[in-house]
Amino acid sequence: MVGITVVVAATVGLGVQAVHGAQAVSVQRQSTAARNASLDDAYYGCLDTQAHSLVSPNQSVTIYANNPADFIILLKTAGSWVTFADSPSSAAVQLSLRTVSGGGNACRSSVVVAHYATPQHGISERVGSGASVAGQGPPPAPPL
């Protein structure tokens, strides 16, 4: 009798939690979550394209940002593929993020900006190009 009771209690508990689990899975597939994820993907894809338009292979890079949020955004954008400089002063390119109004060529009102230690063709600052995403501000942050 005790055995049956334990089986029933445990199975009911497992079953109820499994239903919760199935619901948690479904939540991830809801339109809001999917839309936010797509927006996040598009935003970082856009910034990535802009960063690629500014940095040549093997150019040493440093990231400059006025606030931690911008620093993290740039790190997430290009951190996996750029060649980081030993120190900021030795970097050939300094990448930063700039907020622009209008946003014709911006990624949700942000553009990647490169400052070159040695001006290229007389230009020491360039703005990234090649992609844009409409809208204002970074997409909603995914769950931490």
């Binding site: 445990a10 497992l14 499994a18 689990g21 993907d41 620093f71 996996s80 995914p142 931490l144």
Partner: protein
Amino acid sequence: MTTVPATIVAMLVLSTAGALPTMALVGLRWITFSLAPLTGAVIAAMAATVFLAVGGSFMGWFVALTAVGAALCVASWTRWPDRRPWADGSGSRPPSIRGHRMAGAIGALGIVVASVWCLRDLSTPTVGFDARTFWLLRSGWLLHSHHQLLIAMRAPSLHMGQSGYPPLVSAAGAVAWSVTGNQTMRLGVVVIALLNTCALATAAFALVELGRKFTARLSLSGHRSRTGFATSLPMIAGVVAGVLLILISFGINEPFMTNGYADPMWSLAALGAVVYGLQAGGGRSEQGVVAILVIAAGMTKYEGLVTAAILIVLVAIRQLTTMPADQWKRRWRRGPIAVGIAELAAVGAWPILMKILRTREPSSSRSSPDEMASRARAIYDSFGPYLHVLLLAVPIAVIGGLVLAKVRRRSHAANDWWAWAGLASGLGSVAGALIIGSQPIKPWLVATVHRVTEFPAMAGWWIVATWAVVASGAPAVADQQPTALPAATNAPEHEGPPGPGDIADPASSLVPAPTTPRAPGV
């Protein structure tokens, strides 16, 4: 290459790299399929460690270590033919009865179907915050030159305290990116989600095996073979519990299961280590599973490393306590202590390397005793809502321990105390680090409590599921007592709750012992 074919290629490469070592350690079982890519990921993590330590290239080391592992396996099988996976005496196969193999196949199928159903979440292209900021960021670093990797790991201007975290997830992502040429976050996330699922499926299948082995023992005990409904109940319960555990684990781990975070990986691998190391029979195959999972957990995250270290010690203690007296002299050489030391060396290599290289690490300052008390209270308040499973697991364990101890011994599941010790190891390592540390705790808890309680929550549900399988055999055990356990031929089992002496869990007398008992090792 687009994401789907790239994922297939990446998983095939990881599985191929891990196939021979997995077969050598585990044998040919259903879980060999889910463990092979995890072993490949472990090899990738070791390649990352060696690459960072001595230079060369990451993929060069991955190929070299894969070749060395394969060569050692072949050499081992040549030198000791009885160790070949296809040879008899692996100690992992339960006796064959009607429906037994079918239960294994149905259980495996059910776990695969449930996993695929849950993996539908991958249709939402989420890339987690930490995955993009850190875990997959380092995948790219591993594909740079050694000089660049050292700069990235050390540069103070990057402000990344976590870059010194163990490398398994990043290394698996780097292998995927390298072999496919598809260096997207999306591919990394999908590969990590599949590796997480492999670890979960391995742990869940232990319930199927527990149930079908219990049924096999019930069927073969006594004077005649019994295959009635009552004896089949554990087999059915094992399949049901295994499938439910998949859904439960996805519920606990989502969205981190499918967005590239490392927490599910260490939590699920550690759960598997608890299951096979502290609950299943202590055979060679089980120890092989433990070796793979415990190293995977330890090479994924520092929380996993501390938990893995404690689990390694617990598994070694359990092995020593169950060791036959005539084998006690082998406790060092190729015995539990030697295996434990080797596993500790594997998981300890990365943090030692981080110390030597002086990469960024979290602050090691300590809080005062007064602060520790308030921090402990904050942790208790934060963890509580995520560990409600204990409200069910504790009473079931107490009742089961008091009333169903005899049934549990017949099932050959180890004493429940071992599972609780495993749960406490993960909970204690995380809570202990938070209590002792001096970082502001409340913001951290708000952001991460969901993730750091994954392991104890899943271990709690595993304890509940195990009792469901064990208790389902109670009617059959009660039915068999008068005829199946005559005093003259069966050792008397003492009544009452299990004590410390009951933790001994010798290999089943129904399972053929290996011809030459030995510890796992290739």
